[in-house]
Amino acid sequence: MLNTFIGDVGHLSVIVAFVASLVAAYAYYQAARGRALGEAEPTWLRLARGAFFVHGVAVIAIIASLFGIIYGHRYEYYYAWSHSSNHLPVYYMISCFWEGQEGSFLLWIFWHVLLGGLIIRFNRQWEAPVMAVFAGVQLFLTSMILGVVVLNVKIGSSPFILLRDFLTDAPVFRLNPNFVPTDGTGLNPLLQNYWMVIHPPTLFLGFALTLVPFAFAIAGLWKNELTKWVKPAITWSLVGGAVLGVGIMMGAYWAYETLNFGGYWNWDPVENAVYIPWLVLVASLHALVLWQRRRIGLRTAFVLVISTFLLILYATFLTRSGVLGNASVHSFTDLGLSGQLIIYLGAFVVLATALLVVKWKSIPISEKELTAYNPELWVFVGATVLCLGAFQVLVTTSIPVYNAFLGFIGIKSNLALPADQIAHYTKFQLWMGVAVALVSGIAQLMWWQRNDKETVTNTFTVPGILTLLGAALVILLVRYFGLKMTPAYIVLLTAGLFGVLANLSMLLVLIRRRVSLSGGAVSHIGIALMLLGVLASAGYSNIVSQNVSGLVYSKDFPEDINRDNVLLWRNESAPMKDYDVTYTGQYLDVPGVPGYVNKDLLFLGINDEFRALARGDIKRGDRVYYKAGDTLEIRPEDTYYRVEYKNRKSGEAFTLYPRAQVNEEMGGLLASPDIKPFWNHDIYSHISTVPDPSKEKEWSEVKEHTLSVGDTIYLNDYFAVLRAIEPAQKSATAGLGLAAGDVAIQGDIIVHGEKRQYHVHPIFVVRSNLVGRVPDEVTDLGLRVTFNNVDPATKKFTFGVSTTQKDYIILKAVEKPFINLLWSGTLLMALGFGIAVVQRRREDRRPSAPNKPAAVRKRPVQVA
């Protein structure tokens, strides 16, 4: 049944949300215009607030309608049809919501509504000018999902479009306009991952949070409150820095766990697009703190806060306009909205820059001349380094934009991203890392004291000496294990250690004063640990699966080509570095059963691809989950390849299940790794190739054997016995539609494989005097047996046997040393941000209790 009501409600809500944000923006503007901060015109203010409330309600109605469409499997809507399917669990339906562009815009809009509400509630004084900016941005975002055509120009893309209006050429709609597909095309299996449920909301909350300091900065410029805006902006920037940073790293972790490019960061333009504003956001945070604590760097703070938000808009343009084209493999589908995006980007850039230029002269500056003994100088250097790092990534990532722009003005350009992106970015970002680690240590040590030659020597001696000792020790250990260290790595190691130790020594001092002051030190330690983690895991990632077979196709280019993949025959163990590795079979995920279930235990030939029959009892320990013959649910799209690792030296053994997904839409088979974590390294392995599952296997010519019960034969070199002839199992013949008089018997042949015995059950059926045969296969042994004939007189049975190439996988395995430093550094960084937020909130509350001497005394050296 075609249901247009829910879509109409949704689309109407989009229009309401759009109009309400327009009203809110205008009314907030009028309320704030020509009046001092906090003295907004009450009538306009009331109207504006009402309009923003209506906007918020409408946004929630849009989300409810869209989720209703997905949850109700309403495939008459394009969004549900293209992003969801019947077999999707509810938590992944949430991910379908933001798989498409429209849904991710909605997510962003929703966070803005929430943050706007918080500002109305808690920042009354700033409400009118700040919310005018907010409502203006909402106007832009809601127009992106408006889906209205005005004068032949499409404005926005509605998520509520009907499938028949989207696929206007599909013949089925000409025959029956009310046709509703029974199933959707499904969520991309790579996104069926718990990180994809929480990573996008986190990232978009980070996006949304950059609007808050931006709106305060614009409001400050507009209302000539050029310094007061800093205080609320700092707290929000801290929250934004933490959320965006964690969001980026969640994406990195998802990539590490799910994709098979062998790492967590690929310098893909889509990743860079978020990394750039985060760097600038962190730099702006430092500038804001400089102004609030030391009264310098206000102009820098303005520029950086505004740039952060503009870079977020630029990131949106990059990833959603289709400009990346060949350069990125995972930007969004191009919705043909690039014009709209460029107009908005341009409008915000021009307006914000113009306002800044007009007010530039009146922004207070400090006349203080900084020397190397001023920690402010070092903070400033740090912020500059971050901006340069961001600039470098921006210059390279924008290469497709230059092509598009030159093409637009009629010059043909064929620039491409650097062929070796990792080498290109590393060349710069490594040194940015070095500078960040060093400067964060220096500034942190000097920040809390008055500095002269003597105090600086005293403070730096201990962490300096420890750093040098530590670095020497690590270099010796690296050499001891026979690895090389380039000078650049040595510098990064030393800088990273200094970053950790200098901040740690300050942390120990600060904890004694007051824990809540330690936010900076803690997040700096986190950053330095992340750098060390990247150095170890990327610089020393070690291919375990070097091809040692000696078999190479072509010896033309032997010198510098890495041969990083090995072929593993099923059940044949192969040596790889310190490990003996064996591929032991294909497994499936059966919901409700812990771990994975061997495919050999499942009969998949029944009509429903999401169900299978159990060939034997499926149990874990003593608990039997399914009995032989039971029907059970399976997830057919994922196959898990069981790979056993055994360390020859330590005898330690573990099992990994790298996964491959059959995905027609993405053109074949997608591999995801499985990772075995140890405290000091990960073993990461993924399938590179398997025999093509869509191709029919090539079987050898059938060889006939005539046997009596108890006879033995050799099948494909395996010893086998015909144990019995018995009535066929009900479960195996269920799909054949047998009637009362029909007969089904099966042979029970035991084949002795290398590791275990296999029961083969080929079936012989007589149905209404017609003979049918159901062959049985042992994939482990590459064997297929057909029950060809029965001779009742001699009690002899004829079996046809054919063989095929044994099953194999091609595997790549990599060791990632000390990758845990990266993840634990991320957590520390987030913790540091959190501590700093708590500290700011305490300070915000302090004016209400100003006569607490203890609070003041605890920061005696600070120049407030």
Binding site: N188, A419, L551, S554, G668
Partner: protein, 142 residues
């Protein structure tokens, strides 16, 4: 001169060096003809080539060579660039699983002797109605 001026000068210097180095690292989309010319000049910088896979009447790709049981890290194919020039390409990695279905192929690498040695293959797969590209649909070395 004030220290802040020095800092600004240093920043400008770094920014310029970033621009210069990036300009040096930038690769190009070229045809096989240009790739051969570059190699003939002894220039081994890696380039991007966009091309299509030649197909026979049954729409099967012509000239694929991958025999994993012999060498899993050797995959060779023929690519026809936008000027209809065919070139043998070697990729020292397993064959990307979705290779057979891809329409357009972007490779990076350089000519060596008579073959183009690719170190990255980016596949554009046709999708029925809209193009859906997602990270992971490529195969890359590194």
């Amino acid at each position: 001169m004030k220290k802040s001026h020095l800092l600004i000068l240093a920043v400008i210097a770094v920014a310029i060096s970033i621009l210069v180095t990036t300009a040096g690292d930038v690769s190009q989309y070229v045809s096989f003809k240009e790739a051969r010319e570059l190699a003939a000049e002894g220039n081994l910088t890696k380039v991007h080539v966009v091309g299509r896979l030649p197909r026979d009447l049954q729409k099967n790709i012509v000239g694929l060579e991958y025999n994993p049981t012999l060498d899993p890290n050797y995959f060779a194919f023929t690519l026809v660039d936008t000027n209809r020039l065919a070139q043998r390409v070697v990729y020292f990695n397993p064959k990307p699983q979705d290779f057979d279905k891809s329409e357009q192929v972007v490779i990076t690498g350089a000519m060596r002797n008579d073959v183009f040695v690719a170190d990255k293959i980016l596949l554009k797969c046709p999708s029925k109605y809209v193009e859906k590209d997602i990270k992971g649909a490529t195969a890359s070395v590194n």
